[in-house]
């Protein structure tokens, strides 16, 4: 009953996605409340990114995706391939939501840069010359500029080394604490789920499990999801507590 009092951020009913006649995802049902974190996990090719794109509205789907009224989404896509010598500075990228006749809000851009711990000097640097970690942070800063109520991160650390990865997740977690937004995090890393997620959706072309991590991630469900036993994740979890 208590759940009823929390406001829904997102409710998905009977979602299915087709490419031509091929079924990519089917029969998805899940919901999250405002301020919660949902982790979407599954092996490669399980349709996680496709689901993210449907949620942000860049792919057609059948079924219902209900966002709370007034929801603004900050989408942080998987690693983007940026041409190295493209003549665009970080500033050019961060102000690219603007109309060409409106002056960029430099103070806000700098504030968001600070939130993701990127130095201001990088603003002049061409985006193609930022490191993977820096560019990923820039993508988060870009999303922050839009003042989103919901953040969708699609494997935000793909292609980034381990310390960099830890830092990105710590940044996301810290920002969620400060800004109180809803987070949807796509990952194939189970240890993150135990650390950061209130709810988890296991995906392998269809929903294998959904709920709070401790209940949803039963040994049986994990085997169904990844096709093998994953004892060691439990192990990580036990140490975590």
């Amino acid at each position: 009953m208590e759940d009823e009092k929390l406001e829904k951020a997102l409710s998905v009913t009977n979602l299915a996605i087709f490419f031509g006649s091929e079924v990519i995802l089917s029969n998805l049902n899940f919901e999250i409340n405002q301020g919660e974190s949902l982790a979407i996990i599954g092996p490669n090719g399980s349709g996680k990114t496709i689901l993210a794109k449907a949620l942000v509205g860049t792919l057609p789907y059948t079924g219902e995706v209900y966002w709370a009224p007034g929801t603004t989404i900050g989408y942080v896509p998987q690693k983007l391939d940026i041409e190295r010598n493209i003549p665009l500075s970080l500033m050019d990228f961060l102000r690219s939501r603007n109309d060409g006749f409106v002056r960029a809000d430099a103070a806000k851009i700098k504030e968001c840069l600070k939130l993701v711990r990127l130095p201001e000097e990088l603003l002049k640097k061409p985006v193609g010359q930022l490191s993977g970690g820096q560019f990923q942070r820039a993508l988060i800063a870009f999303a922050l500029i839009g003042e989103p109520k919901v953040f969708i991160f699609d494997e935000p650390t793909a292609g980034i080394d381990l310390p960099g990865e830890e830092e990105i997740y710590a940044t996301i977690h810290r920002l969620q604490g400060e800004k109180k937004f809803t987070v949807i995090l796509i990952s194939h890393d189970l240890s993150l789920v135990y650390r950061y997620a209130d709810k988890v959706l296991c995906l392998n072309r269809e929903s294998i499990c959904f709920g709070e991590p401790e209940e949803a991630l039963s040994q049986e469900n994990l085997e169904k999801l990844f096709g093998s036993t994953r004892q060691f994740y439990r192990h990580v979890h036990d140490h975590g507590n």
Binding site: K53, V56, G57, T58, I73, G74, Y75, P77, L80, I82, E83, N85, I86, P87, L88, S89, M91, D92, F93, R95, S96, R97, N98, D99, G100, F101, K124, P126, V127, L139, F142, G146
Partner: protein, 274 residues
């Protein structure tokens, strides 16, 4: 140079503007500025070869219009816009690489166009060098060039975002498909504007070469756009100066642009990069 492509009516009209007139030069400069701006984005969107090819689609329209005594630019504009719509649709529906589509359409257009265009007009249609301009053509051209310039300046941020990531663009409310279409239309308008000066074969180069030269030195969007436009304007100025020495405008213009490309390439190597 004899002016084959000018309309019969306008060539006898007293309101005809000649190559040495300020209006002819002014339109050339506006057209070049537009080409530099459009080219910057064409280059970043990896339309380098496509740009050259798209301009050829104007040829059948030019040919037909000359045959039937209509304003050739109206004919060129018609087939070019038709070509752009086809390219946009095919690209959207089939998901084939746009380059392949453009390659096929342009080859067909060039073949049909060279069959249709009267032999005596073909050199001007291909290489430009029309030295007369009717007053109303100047006004229409001037408005069209201004439209292109304003569009690029206003939409430059959205164009940047949609080339960095279409998905990201869509989440900020940009309709990437529509923007892509508008860009192709603006691109086609720029080609039409330049046909008088540079012809079907060379106009694509005025869009791409100054932008490629600018990219050798530019570190951000503003410098890219400014360098590209300035190089395009200086190149066409060289062509215009050539006209007074009875040299063909198209080859001189593109030659100058090519010179700037190699010059900036050299400067890039020499200048310390930050």
């Amino acid at each position: 140079m004899k002016n084959y492509l000018a309309q019969p009516a306008s060539s006898t009209d007293t309101s005809t503007i000649m190559a040495t007139d300020i209006y002819y030069i002014l339109l050339a400069l506006f057209m070049a500025a537009a080409a530099g701006l459009v080219g910057s984005f064409a280059l970043m969107r990896k339309m380098t070869l496509a740009s050259d090819a798209i301009s050829h689609i104007a040829l059948p329209g030019l040919g037909l219009a000359i045959l039937y005594g209509i304003n050739p630019f109206l004919g060129g504009a018609t087939t070019l816009l038709l070509g752009v719509v086809i390219i946009w649709k095919v690209e959207k529906l089939s998901g084939i690489n746009a380059d392949a589509v453009i390659g096929v359409i342009f080859a067909i257009a060039l073949a049909i166009g060279s069959l249709l265009t009267p032999e005596e007009a073909i050199v001007e249609a291909l290489f430009g060098g029309m030295e007369k301009l009717a007053a109303q053509e100047f006004i229409v051209g001037f408005l069209a060039a201004t439209l292109v310039i304003v569009f690029i300046i206003k939409m430059r941020h959205s164009l940047v975002l949609s080339l960095v990531s279409r998905d990201l663009a869509k989440t900020t409310g940009i309709n990437a498909d529509r923007l892509n279409f508008y860009f192709l239309v603006v691109f086609a308008i720029t080609i039409i504007l330049g046909l008088r000066y540079l012809g079907v074969l060379l106009m694509g180069s005025l869009i791409i070469i100054p932008a490629a030269a600018a990219r050798n030195l530019a570190q951000n969007l503003s410098t890219m756009l400014v360098y590209s436009s300035v190089i395009a304007c200086v190149s066409i100025s060289a062509g215009l100066i050539g006209v007074s020495a009875a040299l063909p405008i198209g080859p001189i213009t593109i030659g100058a642009a090519g010179f700037f490309f190699f010059l900036t390439l050299f400067l890039k190597k020499v200048l310390p990069s930050k």
